[in-house]
């Protein structure tokens, strides 16, 4: 039997879809209105799914305050009310699409995961970003 726990978090941020590797004309053609130089924003929803053993005594699979604090420090504080392109280092070069945002959340959590959860227990299994009701990206399966 496999048990997974999902926690959901929220932050508002702005972004602009624009690649420094493309010309202005290519950017406009690729990203359309989302290439507007002033940017626009979203209320992002982040879901983290962890998988592991349920402790026989506490009935819990993950220490929720530890997971919440990790997410607050690594994701919510650096991203909330920010312009992702200007204020988050990786998005100076990568385009802050939902895909890249999900990958960055995944990377940031994995860097510190074993500090917070030394046995890699529970494991971080999935990162899911809902940009809008119609646009959702998830990342799974690091080795």
């Amino acid at each position: 039997m496999t048990v997974r726990l999902t926690r959901r978090y929220y932050f508002a941020a702005s972004h602009r879809l624009h690649s420094p590797a493309l010309t202005d004309a290519e950017n406009r053609e690729t990203f359309g209105k989302c290439n507007n130089p002033y940017g626009h924003g979203h209320d992002y929803e982040v879901e983290l799914t962890v998988r592991g053993e349920v402790d026989a005594i506490t009935g819990r699979m993950v220490d929720v305050p530890t997971l919440d604090r990790l997410t607050e420090d690594q994701i919510l504080t650096p991203f909330r009310w920010r312009n992702l392109n200007e204020e988050v280092e990786v998005f100076r070069t990568e385009v802050p699409t939902t895909e890249n945002l999900a990958r960055e959340v995944d990377r940031r959590l994995r860097v510190v995961w074993r500090t917070a959860f030394p046995q890699d227990e529970p494991r971080l299994e999935k990162v899911r970003i809902r940009e809008t009701d119609r646009n959702i990206c998830e990342v799974t399966g690091c080795p």
Copy 2:
């Protein structure tokens, strides 16, 4: 018997809470993190409520395509994927809070309302803006 019809619309935009009438320090104290110079964004939901007579033959109170086109032209096209402070004239001087955004939507619709609905029938009764699930503003009751 009073009948009201509500239509719901959506747009994403970014804004920064900052008043040109305040010093930088006052702005930071008043608006906190929302004063971040790069701005942040939201997925705004706009609800328009109209009140009027139901047509005996069509069973309708408002010509929905007319209302949708009016909203598209006056609100959604000028606001969608925009930086409200930089790209919407009124917010160069007014702070784009939910309150001021609701008032601006209300003003923009009233300016053209009688062109679209010559008898002021139906009447525009309420404009409601949901910035986030926790922050909602509505404007009612022009004379």
Copy 3:
């Protein structure tokens, strides 16, 4: 202090926007794709708002099982999984728009209201029909 209680109910039904008082061409022009002869359907949400005194002993303003049964008998059973145009008498002549549907729900409840609530206490104050997230109609204020 005024206290209002709102109960929410659901039913699925199909309808066709078509007026027997209009020609086929007028119907197509007025209702567009919603005039499709085969009809289409929705999952309707019905909200009833009642207003009244809170009983000092039970802490309740309305006997909820009575309200639920009334709504089941008058609205949900006759409308659920029905073709409104063909199987609900009034919609043989009236067009089953959200406006007319809200008015019919209001009428049906008022006819029997005083049988269920003899003192007209609580009063039925508002009927609200959500056809889709974008199209909502409410009826208030019978004398």
Copy 4:
């Protein structure tokens, strides 16, 4: 033009519908399964609607941190994760129905309102409690 701002808050609590003024048999008949002696619980949603003037400089009608702190202190901290019947004084005698809960939230906020908002500006206009999606109560209109 009237402007209203609504803020939404959440807390989980348990309650039992049981009146000390009724016999056990009457309680069972009146409240049915909700009279279960062990109680049951809900995730309550509280919406506060305030009405007032929008400040010409800040574009705001209410100091949101003040409202949030007031609600935290008067409502969320005393109610969250509590058994309402046992741990909230008024519900030792009043039945913690949605109606009485909304009235108690209204009363608690009004007692301290003018301390937080000395000019009674903005005014607290409405308290709305969503117990479940199907059961919602609102209180308005103190003099």
Copy 5:
């Protein structure tokens, strides 16, 4: 690392659960009220999940306008405001249950997928249909 993107679409339609391979009595017994000859309707939600590589320059895994147009042409235009039994060929013989509807959406998209996405990149991984909040079907895993 596996990346998936999900897009969500909506259409309203009506259907009747009725199999030409069963007698009228068997149909009534099998499908109950859903066998009502006039049909009933729903607001269907369609989620498409695609899996693939994120482009290093654009940060995108799928050309969203291409996916949206494919879905509009193959699914939304033929199904929206339709009576599925009468106006969608396959449902003249198959019963338009949520299961069969999900399979038909899957089939229709796969027929044209490689025209729109010549390298089968990204791959269509999952089709999910939400008929109501309580009834959801998903289809995965074509070879």
Copy 6:
């Protein structure tokens, strides 16, 4: 092609996070405010996902009334409006966390599954419990 059907159910209940295997001090430290002796409650959402063959004639994968009745008898009736710690046997010793609640729902359904679905067709694939919007647990994969 794999087809899955998901049904969603609801019940309200109360619980207290407290382990008889821990001291009072350890319980308080482990569970914080959720260890409050009076308990608190939630509106739980249960999603059951089954996987199987779609019947060629009926277009259905599962007899929905059978699944609904099974869930009503095994889960909803014993849990609804209950204090889980006091009134559900297993939670006298196990802590009623979302993890343990999902496992208990899974166990209860499997015990009777083959009585209701003799060929183990469809299979019960996943049990998902949403305690709040932010806390969700799922159990999959019995042999």
